[in-house]
């Protein structure tokens, strides 16, 4: 009889056994690098000005950014912000937006819940918020993580 009960208890235990993998809802580790910004090396042909700017941008990519790696704490990165803001407005205003962004990047306590986070862990700071047009601003409270943000919209 004892053996019988022991056998039952044994099977009950075995049937309900979970591995740690299940217990703590383990997941496969992915080493894929997510959501890196793509660099656009194409040279803009709209005017001599854009050609010149694209040249400077590509020189920066080639000589500094590619060697230094993905180090900008913001999304979009400062160089992409500059390109996007010039496209969004004009060269002078885009330059001013970039200067402002550069100062904000110098700020050592910028990560203190002031900006929302993009899903790749960077601070989300789209150029549309700085065009001085109130209705273009999409305000997102600081500190929260934004799943997906399409800057082309």
């Amino acid at each position: 009889m004892k053996k019988f009960f022991a056998l039952i208890i044994f099977f009950v235990v075995v049937l309900h056994a979970q591995t740690d993998w299940v217990r703590w809802s383990g997941a496969e580790i992915s080493y894929e690098i997510k959501k890196q910004e793509k660099k656009n090396y194409a040279i803009g042909n709209a005017s001599p000005g854009t050609k010149f700017l694209s040249g400077i941008k590509n020189a920066y990519y080639f000589l500094i950014s590619d060697l230094d790696g993905d180090n900008c704490p913001f999304y979009p990165s400062c160089s992409n912000f500059f390109v996007a803001s010039v496209k969004e407005t004009n060269l002078v205003q885009g330059g001013l937006m970039f200067a402002d962004r550069f100062i904000r990047d110098l700020n050592p306590i910028k990560g203190l819940n002031h900006y929302p986070f993009y899903s790749n862990g960077k601070l989300l700071d789209p150029p549309e918020n700085y065009t001085l047009i109130f209705n273009k601003i999409t305000y997102i409270p600081g500190g929260i993580v934004v799943g997906d943000y399409d800057s082309s919209k």
């Binding site: 330059g95 970039f98 200067a99 100062i103 700020n107 109130f134």
Partner: protein
């Protein structure tokens, strides 16, 4: 045909189960129990109990099977069952599937309560236009007409076209007699949700209870005189002292950084000019000017973002406040 075959199947299963039980009990009966039940042993109480227990067990099994059998000829998808299941789903807050059941029921039967619940389900899953259309179908019901009109207005309000909603309220189309104050109050609440010019304060507060008037007055003042910061003021401040505009808009870290960066570059420029290094002087001077101008621009932009934040916070607070109180609308008893 289906029902008959179902009955046949359940009958066969029952017979099979019985056969199994008999087979299970048979060996025990045949060997030990026949001895136990014999006349001599029956005097001994324990043996007698054994025998009785086995019998009880047998009949218990027999009747469990009988009790749990289901009638094979009931239609699970009858209109009545659809309604019952829809009501159950509604009570479980599963409005999407409840609406489906009500819709199926309404194909067969005409029932104002079911139509009302269908519309209410659609309203609660944010399908406002459909909900409003279905509420229209109950407008002339004797018991539910007023409630349907009230919920129709709620659907219009939640649908988001506040200007159109206020037009409907002002024209008093389908206005419920019982709840006209509530609907007009909803019209006043809608002013908090869009950018239209606010009505006169006395007109606004007239519809609200004394207990909430203080809060509504606060919202009214916040809407009318939002605590915005002036972008021009921020820009001028930054032009006088680099970074002051940013501190004015609440970004103290950015302000100090801007001051330090501009100051350092300007100092380097002056120092290099003094030492006769003209190229370096122009380089640092140019950078200082670039940052100085960028900071003036950035202060104005920062003030605008601050204002957007104020607007965002206000909208959220108002939405949460009224949502929590169901927009001061009465709750409908039979939907609970």
């Amino acid at each position: 045909m289906i029902h008959r075959s179902e009955t046949l199947l359940s009958g066969l299963i029952r017979i099979d189960l019985l056969r199994r039980i008999v087979r299970l009990v048979k060996p025990i009966r045949s060997a030990e129990l026949r001895r136990a039940c014999s006349a001599e042993s029956r005097r001994e109480a324990s043996h007698f109990v054994d025998c009785l227990q086995v019998r009880i067990l047998f009949f218990f099994f027999l009747f469990t099977v009988e009790i749990f059998t289901q009638p094979g000829n009931s239609n699970l998808f009858s209109a009545g069952n659809r309604l019952k299941f829809g009501n159950y789903l509604f009570s479980q807050n599963d409005y999407l599937r409840a609406a489906e059941e009500y819709r199926a029921y309404l194909k067969v039967e005409s029932d104002d309560t079911a139509r009302f619940k269908l519309a209410e389900s659609l309203l609660r899953i944010d399908r406002f236009t459909e909900a409003a259309d279905h509420f229209k179908g109950v407008f002339f019901s004797r018991g539910l007409g007023d409630y349907a009109r009230l919920e129709f207005y709620k659907a219009l309000f939640l649908g988001g076209g506040y200007v159109r909603f206020r037009q409907t309220v002002n024209q008093e189309n389908y206005m419920p007699d019982k709840f006209s104050t509530e609907v007009k109050r909803l019209g006043m609440i809608s002013y908090f949700f869009d950018n239209s010019v606010l009505p006169d304060s006395s007109e606004m507060f007239h519809y609200f209870d004394d207990s909430v008037k203080i809060r509504i007055r606060k919202f009214y003042l916040m809407k009318k005189f939002p605590a915005y910061k002036n972008p021009l003021k921020a820009a001028i401040l930054s032009a006088v002292i680099p970074g002051a505009g940013k501190i004015y808009t609440g970004e103290i870290g950015d302000g100090i950084t801007a001051f330090a960066a501009t100051g350092l570059l300007a100092f380097l420029a002056v120092d290099n000019f003094k030492a006769g290094h003209n190229f370096r002087g122009w380089l640092f001077g140019g950078l200082a000017a670039f940052f100085y101008a960028g900071n003036i621009y950035g202060s104005a932009a920062s003030a605008q973002i601050y204002n957007a934040g104020i607007k965002f916070d206000f909208n959220r607070e108002v939405k949460l406040y009224f949502e929590k109180r169901n927009y001061f609308l009465p709750s409908i008893d039979f939907l609970k």
